[in-house]
């Protein structure tokens, strides 16, 4: 009887397993397979090269820089977005006068297309005409080369990404905050707990599952940063904003070196996979 049930459950799982195999396992297999070949798509030349693609890429300076840049960006953007999103969520969890007006405004950046976001920010970052530098200059600070100072360019990317995706973090955490039962706060207040104690012992622990999941989602998503460097800096100045997806895009769709492109994807998958597993182990969702 039990065995029969087991088979039955497997049978019911079959459709989704098939879809999974078709959409995930097969492409993954093909990508890994392709990464052992030198394949110039336009010339229709395919040649088995073993691990040489990996060797070449991992010793290629620009690719190493792309890995480092992506990791740095990922850490900076995710932490900043968590910080700003959390702060906003705390503000909006209380009701205040213009909350119904500000709430949709706070979400607006997230629903804008990335290309539009980049055009707007490119104007704002402009050295001479940009509003950011005009503000700095008006309060007597020096103008900054937002996109063209190699040390600042990546931080500018972080700012744009944070501006765009803070609302996502904010929404998830706001939903989390609103799911915390009122009674807990009331009980704590009756017991004479201070505001900080309430935050530390009620809000934070109960919000933790939401924080963990939103951080994981942002880690994965920021890893795929593409539009911003592609449109704002072209990966420059120098190699300051070269990222893995940008590198991948150029190899696969501009040079049509599909073997190299596949190799980059495999390496990216491994990095993201390892990061996610480490993270999941550590935070135990």
């Amino acid at each position: 009887m039990r065995r029969k049930e087991k088979y039955l459950s497997l049978f019911f799982l079959l459709p989704s397993l098939l879809i999974y195999a078709l959409l995930i396992i097969y492409p993954l297999y093909e990508t890994i397979h392709l990464s052992f070949y030198k394949y110039r798509y336009i010339e229709k030349k395919i040649e088995f090269v073993g691990l040489r693609n990996y060797e070449k890429l991992l010793s290629y300076e620009l690719f190493q820089k792309a890995i480092i840049n992506t990791l740095v960006f990922d850490v900076m953007a995710t932490s900043l977005q968590l910080l700003t999103g959390f702060t906003l969520a705390l503000i909006f969890s209380k009701s205040f006068k213009f909350r119904p007006i500000f709430l949709p405004l706070a979400i607006l950046p997230m629903v804008m297309p990335a290309a539009v976001v980049c055009s707007i920010w490119k104007l704002m970052f402009d050295y001479r005409f940009g509003i950011l530098n005009n503000i700095l200059a008006s309060i007597g600070l020096p103008r900054l080369e937002w996109l063209t100072n190699p040390h600042l360019a990546m931080i500018s990317m972080v700012i744009v990404d944070t501006w765009q995706y803070t609302p996502f973090v904010f929404l998830v955490l706001l939903a989390g905050l609103q799911s915390i039962p009122r009674e807990l706060y009331e009980a704590a207040m009756v017991d004479g707990a201070s505001k900080f104690d309430i935050f530390k012992s009620i809000t934070l622990p109960l919000l933790m599952p939401h924080i963990k999941i939103v951080v994981l989602l942002r880690i994965i998503d920021t890893f795929k940063i593409f539009t911003k460097p592609a449109l704002l800096t072209g990966g420059g100045p120098g190699d300051a904003t070269e990222t893995l997806t940008l590198f991948f895009y150029k190899e696969a769709f501009r040079f049509f070196e599909l073997g190299t492109g596949a190799t980059v994807s495999v390496i990216v998958t491994v990095i993201v996979g390892v990061l996610s597993i480490l993270y999941l182990k550590r935070v135990r969702l």
């Binding site: 063209t148 800096t233 072209g234 190699d239």
Partner: protein
């Protein structure tokens, strides 16, 4: 009673049905000549605008050939047409091609031979009127091979400068060498605190390379020599890069991310004295007071030379027919239409689209509207193409990276060009 109303109902329904059928059949179209639809892939922006202008005339004159226009951003277009030509069945019947893509497409045998097609279908291509240099890039191998695409957009690199400022400081114009440009930039920026000496494109990738190439060529440098070896670290090239970096010092801060929009902004607001590299599509509205603050003050010239005569970079767009198209005849008709003298003139007058025919550049109405057209024709006729290699996209990307590193001072000119040369050599091996 019930039975009667039922009968009436049935009769009414039948009458309505018959009536509806009669109306339907009287409206059904009488069989006409077969209508063919051709699909066209072109870059978005001013290219697409010009085609739309031409389409208004096309639809009246060729009612049996419908044109379906798809427009894409630059890199998307490349991706889409490569995928379309690589597969067995064509998605597009006419594609617009940037000239550096030609060697790759030609080598792959992806484009139909236009002369053969013309012969087969009894059309004539009037080659005499086209600018030679623009025709040459449409052949594979370059200049000598069969015509695989016809030039539709006569883009060529030009230089723009503030004539009023040159005259104010007694600088002879137009500048004949890059050294003269440098001296002029220095003088003007020292005396005019509000105006930058130059404005250049420094964004990594295609912009910085396009900006540097004419200077490189003017100093006698090259990226790849006749034997196909990378020579971008030659003494001439290093000298050219040094001068180019000097020129960049007089540019506004932030040029490391400048592309066409920024150059246009500085040029049109009069905040830059010399734009070392401009393209015909950018200067069309210099005399339009609604967008330009320098009406009548900016002059366009052929880019300067130095050790060799001027070498403006050609950047024409061409129209070709994929080998796997099923409507080659109609596609050829459309290409001949778009590149005809009459339509080129209309596109130029309506949208400022750069022609590829000498007769249009010399046409009185056109020159009255665009005073720099004689200069543009001269530049086009003396222009030089980017290296005719299948790996150009990669070479450009490599050179772009190291030029950017030199521009931000991360590498010296020698270091940058040596590193670039090493990687380009590697890339050419394939």
């Amino acid at each position: 009673m019930k039975g009667v109303s039922k009968i009436i109902l049935v009769v009414v329904i039948v009458i309505i049905l018959i009536g509806a059928l009669a109306v339907y059949f009287s409206m059904a179209p009488t069989p006409k000549e077969e209508v063919v639809t051709i699909k066209v892939a072109a870059p978005a922006g001013y290219h697409a605008e010009s085609i739309k202008v031409a389409l208004e005339f096309w639809e009246k004159e060729y009612p049996n050939i419908k044109v379906e226009l798809s427009t894409f951003g630059y890199h998307d277009l490349y991706e889409k047409i490569v995928l379309s030509m690589r597969e067995a069945k064509a998605v597009y019947d006419v594609i617009q091609i940037d000239d550096p893509w030609m060697p790759e497409f030609g080598e792959a045998g992806w484009l139909a031979n236009l002369d053969e097609l013309a012969k087969q279908y009894g059309f004539e291509i009037d080659y005499d009127d086209f600018v030679d240099t623009a025709l040459w890039v449409g052949r594979h191998p370059y200049k000598t091979g069969p015509q695989l695409a016809l030039p539709v957009c006569g883009n060529v690199e030009l230089t723009a400068y503030r004539k009023d400022l040159f005259e104010k400081y007694g600088i002879p114009h137009p500048p004949k060498t890059w050294s003269e440009v440098l001296a002029a930039a220095k003088k003007i920026s020292e005396n005019e605190p509000e105006v930058y000496g130059t404005v250049m494109r420094g964004m990594r990738g295609n912009p910085i390379v396009s900006n540097f190439l004419p200077v490189l060529w003017a100093f006698g440098g090259r990226i790849i020599d006749d034997k196909g070896n990378a020579v971008v670290n030659s003494p001439e090239a290093i000298e050219a890069l040094k001068v180019w970096l000097e020129l960049a010092k007089y540019s506004p801060p932030g040029i490391e991310s400048f592309s066409s929009d920024e150059v246009k902004a500085y040029l049109y607001s009069g905040k830059a004295a010399i734009a070392t590299e401009v393209w015909p599509g950018w200067v069309g509205k210099l005399d339009d007071p609604t967008v330009s603050q320098v009406v009548g003050k900016v002059e366009v010239c052929v880019p300067p030379g130095e050790k060799t005569s001027p070498a403006p970079m050609i950047g024409v767009w061409l129209l070709g027919i994929p080998h796997n198209s099923e409507h080659k005849k109609e596609a050829l008709q459309f290409i001949l239409f778009l590149t005809s003298k009459r339509i080129q003139k209309l596109k130029s007058l309506y949208t400022g689209y750069p022609p590829t025919r000498k007769s249009v550049y010399e046409d009185e109405t056109v020159v009255n509207k665009y005073r720099w057209y004689p200069v543009q024709l001269e530049a086009l006729m003396t222009s030089r193409p980017r290296p005719r290699i299948t790996q150009w996209a990669k070479v450009e990307s490599i050179l772009g990276l190291y030029l950017s590193k030199a521009l931000i001072g991360e590498m010296t000119p020698e270091e940058a060009l040596n590193a670039a040369n090493k990687e380009i050599t590697e890339a050419l091996k394939g």
